[in-house]
Symmetry: C2
Subunit: 664 residues, 2 copies
Amino acid sequence: MGVSSNRVEDFSSHHETSVRMSPASAEAVMVVAMPPVEIHRVCLPPSKTTFQKLKQRLSEIFFPDDPLHRFKNQSSFTKLVLALEFFFPIFNWAPTYSLALLRSDVISGLTIASLAIPQGISYAKLANLPPIIGLYSSFVPPLIYSILGSSRHLAVGPVSIASLVMGTMLNNAVSCSADPILYLKLAFTATFFAGLFQAALGLLRLGFIIDFLSKATLVGFMAGAAVIVSLQQLKGLLGIAHFTTKMQIVPVLTSVFQQRHEWSWQTIVMGFGFLAFLLITRQISMRRPKLFWVSAAAPLTSVILSTLLVFLLKSKLHGISIIGHLPKGLNPPSSNMLYFHGSYLAVAIKTGIITGILSLTEGIAVGRTFAALRNYQVDGNKEMMAIGFMNMAGSCSSCYVTTGSFSRSAVNYNAGAQTAVSNIIMASTVLVTLLFLMPLFHYTPNFILAAIIITAVIGLIDYEAAYKLWKVDKLDCFACLCSFFGVLFISVPLGLAIAVGVSVFKVLLHVTRPNTMVLGNIPGTQIYQNPSRYREAMKVPSFLILAVESPIYFANSTYIQERILRWVREEEEQIQANNGNALKCVILDMTAVTAIDTSGIDAICELRKMLEKRSLQFVLANPAGNVMEKLHQSKILDSFGLNGLYLAVGEAVSDISSLWKAQP
Amino acid sequence: MGVSSNRVEDFSSHHETSVRMSPASAEAVMVVAMPPVEIHRVCLPPSKTTFQKLKQRLSEIFFPDDPLHRFKNQSSFTKLVLALEFFFPIFNWAPTYSLALLRSDVISGLTIASLAIPQGISYAKLANLPPIIGLYSSFVPPLIYSILGSSRHLAVGPVSIASLVMGTMLNNAVSCSADPILYLKLAFTATFFAGLFQAALGLLRLGFIIDFLSKATLVGFMAGAAVIVSLQQLKGLLGIAHFTTKMQIVPVLTSVFQQRHEWSWQTIVMGFGFLAFLLITRQISMRRPKLFWVSAAAPLTSVILSTLLVFLLKSKLHGISIIGHLPKGLNPPSSNMLYFHGSYLAVAIKTGIITGILSLTEGIAVGRTFAALRNYQVDGNKEMMAIGFMNMAGSCSSCYVTTGSFSRSAVNYNAGAQTAVSNIIMASTVLVTLLFLMPLFHYTPNFILAAIIITAVIGLIDYEAAYKLWKVDKLDCFACLCSFFGVLFISVPLGLAIAVGVSVFKVLLHVTRPNTMVLGNIPGTQIYQNPSRYREAMKVPSFLILAVESPIYFANSTYIQERILRWVREEEEQIQANNGNALKCVILDMTAVTAIDTSGIDAICELRKMLEKRSLQFVLANPAGNVMEKLHQSKILDSFGLNGLYLAVGEAVSDISSLWKAQP
């Protein structure tokens, strides 16, 4: 026992004193003890006060990226420059901006403008807003983003999902046709709150909240939304005048077929013709990324062609609905339309938060994707602030919710955008359109907007990703399906909530029923692995080595306790059946037990007592730092005694078996 | 490279063929390769179909205790006997029941009866029910439990927490004084639903749901409830006639002090006198467990004494409220009073579910505690069914929610109870009381019931447990405080919900911001540990070895990716500052990464690409079985190549450094 006392720390003394094994005592172990391996003590982590721990924990939660590391050891002037660069990323690239870069940016800016103008008009209709709002939203926000944003490829403007959600949620509260002014007010107010919420998330560094929208959830959600939106566009494509405003699949389909008498064959022929054209150009660009301009130019081309067609044939064609008069001129201020009181405020806030989360998710995912392709970093929290301020400013200048659009950013990237100047070029093009070209859209037919929307949202149905989810992770696929069918049959926000619930449930399920397994030794090594996976791993006679693959929490402490007792029972039955060596010791490998709470500690304590009553020794191997700390604080280590705690399973096995040999 | 191909499995071939390393190739590694350790391949777990995996997963979720293991390899007759014993645990002990056991059971049964009668009356008042219901509830349920229940020490009857919650929740919907019949109907209906819910949880083996009430939550909840209940009893102790029916601390205290003119000095003197007597006897029994009978007999003694006192002095004492007339006779049937329709059904169901969960939690915790002391097993799911059926039967025989009470079970255990017969003895004593002794309670004063309740609930305030929580786990302590103040200031069910929310949030927080750390080698071993904890652990030059202590999920994949990149950046900065060896390889120890989802896989893939761009090799060590499976299915292992996957960190370090030496 004189040897063992070197091994296990004396917990009554201050732990700092016994962290390092002195060379002398290490040698003593080597000489006196029989086991072939040296035995190491299990140490406590360095002691910290509660305040220090809290500080470390909070800095991991809120500042995991250590945003101030650039400022360390710098002169005050450099610090000032760095701070400017930090808050206004435009200072990063503006000083070294060149004509060559400008050339690329002009080309890409014009390309995305040709996409942004028809899409802006279409998406505004999706949100039940006047088409002009979509153009306003493609002017102010991109300018602000180009100063504040850190992504170089994000093409900013209205996007389909956020437009759809805003349209659905607001229309449930206020009919857009009955009271268009109130509806518009609510839309601006929701945009303001979306921006406020986004900026607040970024400022408070709570960006991890959007991580709870898992990829699986989003795949299902976007596919569901795309299906609903496409079906709803049948209104425009078939020329139906009276259509449901609901967003579930059943009322939409009922509407389509009940209003068959309103179908207009001229609209149908032209609408599906242009839809086919758009889909074919989309297919061409997808097959050959170099021909990205084919699909990029197609929407504007079809808008021009269809407008011309309708204008020329206007005497012959009846019943084709057109956009009509659009006001010329710049964004009017709208801060006087924000609505901070009254009964609809709650709806506006709720809509703002949900569209805010969704547009953040899209914007940041898109930004990260292209940043990774070009090997630069996009800071999530900073992006949130940029998108948030852009939306708050937008809400005061007649814009609704905007973010980085995936399809336009891809075109921007492929067209060779180098910096946020491409957004400025796009905004300037929109400006010219707003000032001079608005009358040209008078005869633009609504079916072409429907066709543009369908072409855009069809890309959101990512069945390959869904199939991959099914192949890799059935539960993820289940979450995906839940959100898909939730959106289709229940409602957009509820479908999203269900999917987030399923994702969280999945995390909890993993904690509630963690994996436990028996380990065996791989001969000739100190490696212990599961024999059912590694056939060379051999069980050690008289030992039962178990591993728990999860923290031990209130939610699983009873389960783990009972499951371990079942392992012991099954092992004893097997030994009895095979006349093997009697079981003498149970080793619990705690490597993957990354945390423990008070219920978990009680379970370990209880387990030790129960095994002791069966005359089985219970040993813990390799507890993680914070687990060790809690075991120590709760004083249950004392009951484990000197041979109850080892640094590695291998050391435990060799030391305990040598003790058995010494005291037969 | 010829050597390496033995090491990493060829994933295109069926993995079964390459699980075992042939002795020849193992030798080849030993002879040709330079590293001192033999290199082992990482294997996939044995392949299973989706159906097999689902089956295994479901059996771990619902049948972790393998309830049918007793039935394996038995004759049909033995199986029948075992099944009878399984469903009616009375068959376990009845055949070997002896006179000696009966003697112990009679003593303990009479002891708990003397406690159960006054407590039954008091708790019924706590639930705003007629006192007689409390006695009815101490008669039928114990009889049923003695047949179905598997605990030998549980003393069944009404308990304070469930009574309090039922009283609060029902009284919010229907005033017990304005419409006592409807209130009674709702109480029986809630009891029925509590039983149904409990039995369903047991039948569907969903018992783990009650595990979500962590110990920390319960400590806070019970203390809060005890404080509220004690304050509410001031009504009886001070003799106040008009008292609030609310259960928050503010209205209760307001009521106490606003009604000062109703305080009656005779009630106060006698009430606090008996309260002091009860508290002193409680203290005596706590100090000396052998004197358990002192506190067990005290309530009945004080009921008798106070009743006598009030009876003798009735001409002189005015304004002392007494129980009054109680009907003689057995439980009347009440199945006709169950209420399955109408506007209050939702309240009854909600109350039933919440009291059901709370009483289950108490009953099972108590059963497990005493089972552990006597080293027998209590099956949670079976207990739920027993308690559930007992409550369903109770709701049809004028009983309200019952379960195993902690205080009475402790007395039962200390009085030497051996089997559930002590419950039968208790029920018989209650039967005699109901049939013959009811008139004796006519003059029992209400203040003595208040004193009994206070004495009972004061034991629920476990400040030592709260202090231990603070010492061991600050977040657990926070959950405890949340539930304590939630109950005190908001409401009982909401306080509970907040506390469960905090507990779940804690689990999610651990997943959202997991611990990551750098590992170093402990010289002379293959053990890698954190150098800040083990000072002897040395960093390996040119390597950065990182460990992630959590599954990699959607909720943390971005964090982990960014955190690892920060570790790499910091390591490179440190190397630059010290002119050390350039970093060449990042090893990720996946031992504690017990699960991964599709977002996690994408993060790993992304990370590999980013590190590759910095010319850093990225290596995974020891992925767990299901993680390995998913990495394989998602095909990202192919991109890691031959030197991207090792069984242990030690093997990775020695193999990669020997490769570097071979190709400088």
